[in-house]
């Protein structure tokens, strides 16, 4: 059972795109739009090895934030949230490891199944890593109005670390 507020889980579930921010070695924040997938406990994303700079940054520094801010990408929902968390990159076998998230992915982007059938045309696109984010803190703006202070929730201490071993 997740400690995340129900409204925030709904945003994650609805979002076609989230803005993932990672921190480069020199401290610069870099933001990447990705599809967020909710597995009931963690937020999952998947990244092709083609666009793997984010993965390198994540391996160097697992602290991330995920922003859910665009009403268009959120299916018209007005609420906004930023989730801070710890990320882990799973890429022992980039050819197959990510396939476990395919059901969640295709629910948001059905066309990906068609793309996967023509894997031969985009072989590197389907060599992928999974990014697993354990939420630590949430900033939530119920009506999306950022001129008002967000509601802040923090994970209970019992939540296990999501950092790579």
């Amino acid at each position: 059972m997740s400690w995340l507020p129900r409204e925030v889980i709904e945003l994650v579930d609805a979002a076609l795109v989230t803005e993932l921010t990672v921190v480069r070695k020199d401290g610069r924040p870099i933001t990447y739009p990705l599809i967020p997938l909710w597995d009931g406990e963690k937020i999952l994303m998947t990244s092709s090895i083609l666009f793997s700079r984010k993965l390198e940054h994540l391996k160097d520094n697992p602290h991330v934030s995920l922003s859910f801010s665009d009403p268009v990408a959120l299916g018209g929902r007005a609420g906004r949230a930023t989730i801070q968390g710890d990320a882990r990159v799973i890429d022992g076998d980039p050819h197959t490891d990510w396939e476990r998230v395919l059901p969640l992915w295709s629910a948001k982007e059905p066309v990906i199944i068609q793309f996967l059938k023509s894997r031969v045309a985009f072989p590197l696109f389907f060599e992928r890593s999974v990014i697993e984010v354990v939420p630590r803190r949430v900033f939530y703006w119920p009506d999306g109005d950022v001129s008002r202070a967000p509601q802040v929730s923090t994970s209970p201490p019992s939540v296990s670390s999501g950092e790579a071993a």
Binding site: P29, P33, I49, L50, D93, V111, V120, E127
Partner: protein
């Protein structure tokens, strides 16, 4: 799924211009606890001063003086599909406060992607080097070599470019059919001819990738399509250069063995000359020192190899060395149309080919000359068929091969419209390949009709006699 990576850095002013087009910006910085934090904000871009003005978001502290970023991101949801119209920009800079109490943002650098300007396939190609570097890192982390993979079937199809074998089957089958129409047919020799010719073609395809990889032509090409830019299995790390070289050598070994077997069983000097010439042309198509395709001779080499040599070769195998005008005339339209496959497929490759010294005709010639050259050569192919029939060299049913003529107009229109759009040209290239295939198949059908008519209605004139 990923919609961005380090494709394009640009000037801060350009970054702000793009940022202004989004309905809101995502302000991001790294907090004292080391976690990044983002909040949506409304912004006013003062392009004259090159700064952004915005209100202090409530409940969070924007660090003044530290490096922060502003991101604009857009998608258009497509129910049942996913989304499209992906574009984003991130501008980095530093925050300050103006006398009115509003926060200011002075941009220092920017980065982003817009799929309208960089299509997704090109976006992918530009990241291939990054994928290689990442897999090297993963390999070190897990203590074994991690490589991209494809199933053996898909990999074979891709590495050898198997579907292009139609360019071999067409002339060989026509050559065999012409011989059969003249009363000569040996099934075993026909099968061997097909195997040998296909092996030369596959060896050439693979060797072409090997030498293009060594000379850097495929590496520089960021606009490959399913018809152009090579198989890319070497660039993608799917097959090593060494293995591709071995595969090519293997196909050549099969081709030479079949050629020797045919020479041993059906010797003729014509076959010897055609076989040796065919092997040499295919090797030196891209191989040094000749590198024919790099010297503006690729189209001519292809025309000779996949026209007269293949067709006459198949014919002389059947006839044990007999040479007549008919197979030679029949090979001319096939030669022209197969050369035009290469010629049109080279159009999207010309920037990369030019940079790597591969002087193909589309590299050497201006746009209008390339398009006019296509029309003239295609028209000549059809004219040879018609004149060949009128002159009594080709059989009357060969006029069937004129049916695909309207497709030439479609290719011409496509070239005019998409000349500078590699992915727009994909449909054009597909139609152009069909021109060759349809003409070839109809020519083959014409000879099947001739053979059938000779059996069923002997005495009916099948050639125009003056």
């Amino acid at each position: 799924m990923d919609v961005r990576a380090g494709v394009a850095m640009f000037e801060p002013a350009e970054g702000l211009r793009r940022l202004e087009s989004f309905p809101f910006a995502l302000l991001t910085w790294v907090g004292n606890d080391g976690y990044p934090i983002s909040t949506a904000i409304n912004i006013d871009v003062d392009t004259g001063r090159g700064i952004v003005l915005f209100q202090q978001p409530a409940g969070v502290d924007v660090p003044l003086g530290d490096e922060i970023s502003m991101t604009g991101s857009h998608i258009r949801p497509q129910p049942g599909i996913g989304y499209d119209e992906r574009r984003h920009v991130t501008v980095w800079g530093h925050a300050g406060r103006d006398p009115s109490g509003r926060l200011t943002f002075v941009a220092t650098t920017a980065w982003g992607w817009d799929e309208q300007t960089i299509p997704f396939p090109e976006y992918i190609e530009r990241q291939v080097g990054q994928s290689r570097r990442y897999l090297e890192r993963v390999s070190m982390e897990v203590g074994r070599v991690v490589r991209p993979r494809l199933s053996l079937g898909w990999l074979t199809l891709r590495a050898t470019r198997l579907p292009f074998l139609s360019a071999t089957f067409v002339p060989v089958l026509i050559g065999i059919a012409i011989a059969a129409a003249q009363g000569v047919f040996d099934l075993f020799a026909a099968v061997l001819t097909l195997i040998g010719a296909a092996s030369v073609h596959l060896a050439l395809n693979v060797a072409n990738d090997v030498f293009d990889a060594r000379l850097g032509a495929d590496e520089r090409n960021v606009n490959p399509t399913q018809f152009s830019g090579g198989s890319r299995v070497i660039q993608y790390g799917l097959v090593s250069l060494r293995r591709m070289s071995a595969i090519s050598a293997g196909f050549y070994a099969v081709a030479i063995s079949v050629g020797l077997l045919l020479l041993a069983t059906r010797f003729s000097y014509a076959l010897l000359v055609i076989g040796v010439l065919g092997i040499l042309l295919s090797i030196f198509y891209t191989a040094p020192p000749l590198k024919l395709v790099y010297r503006g001779l690729g189209e001519l080499t292809t025309a000779i190899g996949f026209g007269p040599l293949m067709l006459l070769g198949a014919y002389v195998v059947q006839t044990m060395g007999m040479l007549r005008p008919e197979p030679f005339v029949a090979s001319i339209p096939i030669a022209l149309l197969v050369a035009l496959i290469l010629y049109v497929n080279e159009v999207p490759d010309r920037p990369a080919d030019g940079r790597s010294g591969k002087r193909t005709l589309p590299v050497l010639l201006p746009r209008e000359a390339v398009i006019n050259g296509y029309v003239i050569a295609a028209a000549a192919a059809f004219a040879v068929i018609a004149l060949g029939v009128v002159a009594g060299v080709l059989p009357i049913p060969a006029l069937l091969a004129l049916l695909p003529l309207p497709l030439v107009g479609r290719v011409h229109d496509g070239l005019v419209r998409y000349y500078d759009q590699p992915y727009g040209l994909m449909g054009v290239m597909a139609v152009n390949i069909r021109v060759h295939l349809y003409v070839g198949v109809l020519m083959f059908v014409a000879y099947v009709v001739v053979i059938g008519a000779m059996w069923l209605t002997p005495g009916v004139p099948l050639f125009i006699r003056w």
